[in-house]
Amino acid sequence: MESTRNNEVKETIDQMATLLNTGLDRETLGLCVSLCERGVNPEALASVIKDLRKQELTATESNIH
């Protein structure tokens, strides 16, 4: 019961994320959700993730070169 509901929720959020074209995959999303549940400021978290993305981007770019 619990797990199905959990799954439902995860499913829902995942769909929402895809709809909004956030670029987050499931596991990341799960982590973010748990962070938010913990009380993390979403703006901050969002900026963290953007930051990470930027880092990734620069890293891949630099890797290409």
Partner: protein, 855 residues
């Protein structure tokens, strides 16, 4: 909720650098106190999660030398710093806000609503789920990370500015908003169409007080969420239609369920749905009542009372319409002025329920009445409604009483007409008196009118019903049979001059009705009886009956007997009626009867019954008395028949008496006459003894019949009619009782008595036969004496024959008497016992040891 930022200041196993940052964090926060022990766990979890998150991103490391752990640590720290630095979001923490903003974005992004719709569905699912606590933050996160073009626009967080502004004005304002559902999707699209004005409105938002800003924004944004909500005011408008029996937009009548149901596809919150259904009930009741009224308003089967019920219901429905009109005006005004804030006067579902409470009750009552009065008419209908007035609730009682007053008007009108004029104005057969028009005038009293028991309303007692019946009947009787209109005219003129005297009966004034009817009853009955006694001489006729048919006028009867005696002994076929009438006339003239009222004498007549074989005149002769209306209601054919029966009996009795007295006279002289005929002296003696016995018997019987039976009953009847009678019915009844008493006591009716009467007839016959034998003896004696004179002796065998004959008859007589007495003794009636004592004087017959033979 408290952001446990200070928890993050706890880096359990981290470097002192982080410690300092923790301190800095703490100091920068000026933070809230929280339990460090729990935050420890949270903190490490946070770290762990962060590290995992970092791992998700495929960030290659340029500096291979650093330990992965430390690298991660560094990143974690940095991220933490970022996180900690922004503790408060910059927008208002409201998930619906975010959701609507996302929704809007989605709409605006592609111009297609599919995504928005899907999002809406997902959001619904999420919203109903209780597992996530901070949906808002998740949504905000997602929206922030979404790579769609349009940025989220949210309300600026104005908390910091709160001190400078006044607190939100309307608390209730907010709460009603909570009840209010957002506009339907239809409205939303319409609204979006005129987007520009909205947009411009948004710009001026800062000018308005924050609460209004909030509300506006909510309404606007909420309107873009899924198209499933229906406004309360829409529902209200629908309900107004429902109240009038018309299907609304969202609430339609479902004939399968015979009930109202919401159109599928829209969703309303559960409590609202319940309220809507409760209110829709009103519409259902209304339809039912209206159907009934329309069906029956022209229907003649239901009668006048039923139609007045329809009229009363119609009147009530008019009141109902008024209420609906008020509500409708209210609704329209409210919808038109949508921009005004709701205040105390606004119409909500709850308020509507309260306002319609009264009228719901009334409608329910009406529908119950409709159900109950489906097939009833007239008085029965009133009885049914009256039963319902015995309700404890004064509201019901009052309502039903008023309705009943209207409904019972036609009934009371009919009643007044019947009681005061004797007219039955009942086209639909609703009144408690029914008239049979096929019955002729003669039978008016007995059979023309009858009571319909079930049409008598239950609040009028049965005796009252009987009285009402009697009054009307009497009035009719007086009018038609007695041809006397004075009474009715008298009523009419009295009431015309003094209209207050003619009481218009009303429901609820049962006592007044009863009194009025009592008075009318007294008056009418008295008038009727007076009429009968004076104009139609009821008493005189009764007396005449007694005198002639019951042989009261002795001299007349005697004369009649004298003259008719020989005639009647002949066979019946020789009798001619007009001879007999002639004789009757002479008898009347020569007795005291001639001084009687000629009208009565005119009615006296002779009648010849059907002639059968071997009938003597005695068997077919009878007197007759003509009666016509209105007296023939008292002297009904049944009564007349009984009179004739009694006459027959008495006539036979008289005849026997007559015969015996004649014989007695004859034989009184016989002993002297036939003194010279010595051998028959003993016969003569015996004959005289026998005659004596017979005479005694007959005289006792006659005495009994004439005095104890006839006179006593007559006395009773006379006193009753003179003093105690109050109406015609009682007179008729008493008269019949009188006659039946006579017939019973005269051994003419009743099973036991009829056996006796048979025996009496036998006795009479035996007496008559004996007389014949005596005649023989007499002849013989006469001839013997004649012979003696002439010196001849008679033959002895003739005398023995005669003697034998005589003996036989005498024995026969004795036996009959004995049997008669035996049976007589078995009665308990005092009079009969005294009769038997007298008949068996000195126990003469009891000394006979002859056993009674079977008849």
């Amino acid at each position: 909720m408290s952001y446990s930022e200070n928890k993050w200041g706890r880096y359990g196993d981290n470097s002192p650098r982080k410690m300092s940052s923790r301190v800095s964090v703490l100091s920068s926060q000026g933070g809230e106190e929280s339990s460090f022990s729990s935050s420890n766990v949270a903190n490490s979890h946070l770290n762990k999660t962060l590290s995992k998150l970092i791992d998700r991103f495929d960030i290659p490391l340029d500096n291979q030398s650093m330990c992965i752990y430390h690298r991660r640590e560094k990143k974690t720290l940095r991220l933490n710093k970022i996180i900690c630095s922004q503790t408060e979001p910059s927008i208002v923490r409201n998930e619906e806000d975010i959701a609507t903003s996302i929704h809007e974005r989605l709409i605006q992004d592609h111009g297609s609503t599919e995504k928005a719709y899907r999002f809406g569905r997902l959001y619904n699912k999420l919203a109903s789920n209780n597992r996530l606590g901070k949906k808002w933050s998740i949504l905000y996160l997602l929206s922030n990370l979404s790579s769609l073009d349009v940025t989220v626009r949210g309300l600026q967080n104005i908390d910091s500015e709160v001190e400078y502004l006044q607190p939100p004005v309307s608390r209730p304002f907010e709460t009603t908003i909570q009840d209010d559902t957002s506009n339907s999707s239809r409205n939303t699209r319409r609204r979006l169409a005129r987007n520009e004005s909205l947009r411009s409105n948004e710009m001026e938002m800062d000018i308005l007080p924050p609460a209004v800003q909030l509300q506006r924004a909510k309404e606007q944004q909420r309107s873009d969420v899924s198209s499933v909500y229906v406004t309360e005011s829409d529902l209200l408008r629908d309900l107004i239609f429902i109240f009038q029996g018309i299907d609304g937009q969202y609430i339609k009548f479902n004939p399968e369920l015979n009930d109202y149901s919401l159109v599928s596809g829209i969703s309303v919150s559960k409590p609202m749905e319940e309220m809507v259904f409760k209110l829709a009930d009103i519409g259902w009741l209304y339809i039912k009542i209206r159907k009934f009224v329309q069906l029956n308003v022209d229907n003649s089967n239901i009668g006048l009372v039923g139609q007045s019920l329809c009229a009363a219901l119609q009147h009530e429905l008019t009141e109902y319409y008024k209420l609906i009109a008020i509500l409708e005006a209210q609704i329209e005004k409210q919808i038109a002025d949508k921009s005004l804030p709701n205040d105390q006067q606004s119409l909500t579902l709850k308020r509507l329920m309260v306002w319609t409470l009264d009228c719901t009750q009334k409608l329910r009552l009406m529908s119950i009445l409709v159900d109950v009065c489906q097939d009833k008419k007239g008085g029965a209908l009133m009885t049914t409604i009256h039963n319902y007035t015995k309700h404890g609730d004064p509201f019901f009682r009052k309502y039903l009483t008023e309705m009943l007053q209207v409904v019972s008007k036609p009934f009371y009108e009919m009643l007044a007409r019947w009681v005061y004029e004797g007219e039955l104005d009942d086209p639909y057969g609703e009144f408690l008196v029914a008239c049979d028009p096929t019955v002729s005038e003669e039978d008016l009293w007995q059979s023309k009118y009858s009571i319909r028991e079930n049409m008598l309303p239950s609040f009028l007692s049965k005796e009252l019903g009987q009285k009402i019946f009697a009054i009307g009947k009497s009035l009719n009787f007086i009018r038609y049979s007695c041809h006397d209109d004075t009474l009715v005219e008298q009523y009419y003129t009295t009431f015309n001059n003094n209209t207050a005297a003619r009481l218009t009966f009303k429901y609820g004034e049962t006592k007044a009705v009863e009194e009025a009817i009592d008075i009318a009853y007294m008056n009418t009955s008295k008038a009727l009886l007076d009429l009968l006694k004076t104009k139609y001489k009821l008493m005189d006729h009764l007396k005449a009956m007694k005198r002639y048919l019951l042989l009261g006028q002795g001299d007349f009867i005697q004369y009649l007997m004298d003259v008719l005696g020989e005639n009647l002994s002949k066979p019946a076929t020789t009798l001619l009626r007009h001879n007999l009438t002639g004789i009757l006339e002479t008898a009347v003239r020569s007795s005291n009867a001639q001084y009687d009222d000629p009208e009565i004498l005119n009615r006296l007549d002779v009648r010849l019954l059907e002639i059968q074989n071997n009938d003597l005149g005695w068997d077919v002769f009878t007197l007759d008395y003509h009666v016509d209306a209105p007296i023939n209601t008292v002297f009904s054919p049944v009564a007349m028949l009984q009179y004739l029966q009694i006459f027959n009996f008495l006539w036979r009795l008289k005849r026997v008496e007559y015969t015996l007295s004649a014989s007695w006279k004859k034989w009184g002289k016989a002993s002297r006459e036939f003194a010279n005929v010595t051998d028959i002296r003993q016969d003569l003696h015996f004959a005289q003894l026998t005659i004596q016995r017979m005479v005694h018997f007959i005289y006792q019987l006659q005495h009994y019949v004439l005095f104890e039976v006839l006179e006593c009953s007559w006395d009773k009847l006379e006193t009753f009619i003179e003093n105690k009678s109050i109406d015609l019915d009682s007179i008729i009844e008493t008269h019949l009782n009188y006659l039946s008493e006579i017939t019973e006591k005269g051994f003419l009716s009743g099973t036991k008595e009829i056996a006796l009467s048979g025996r009496l007839n036998n006795i009479f016959d035996s007496i008559l036969r004996y007389k014949v034998a005596l005649d023989h003896l007499h002849e013989y004696a006469t001839s013997e004496s004649a012979k003696m004179i002439f010196g001849k002796t008679g033959s002895s065998d003739k005398i023995s024959l005669i003697r034998h004959h005589q003996q036989e008859k005498e024995d026969d007589f004795t036996i009959q008497v004995l049997e008669f007495l035996n049976i007589l003794k078995s009665y308990h009636d005092e009079d009969l016992r005294s009769l038997s004592t007298r008949l068996d004087y000195n126990d003469y017959y009891s000394s006979f040891k002859i056993t009674p033979q079977t008849p």
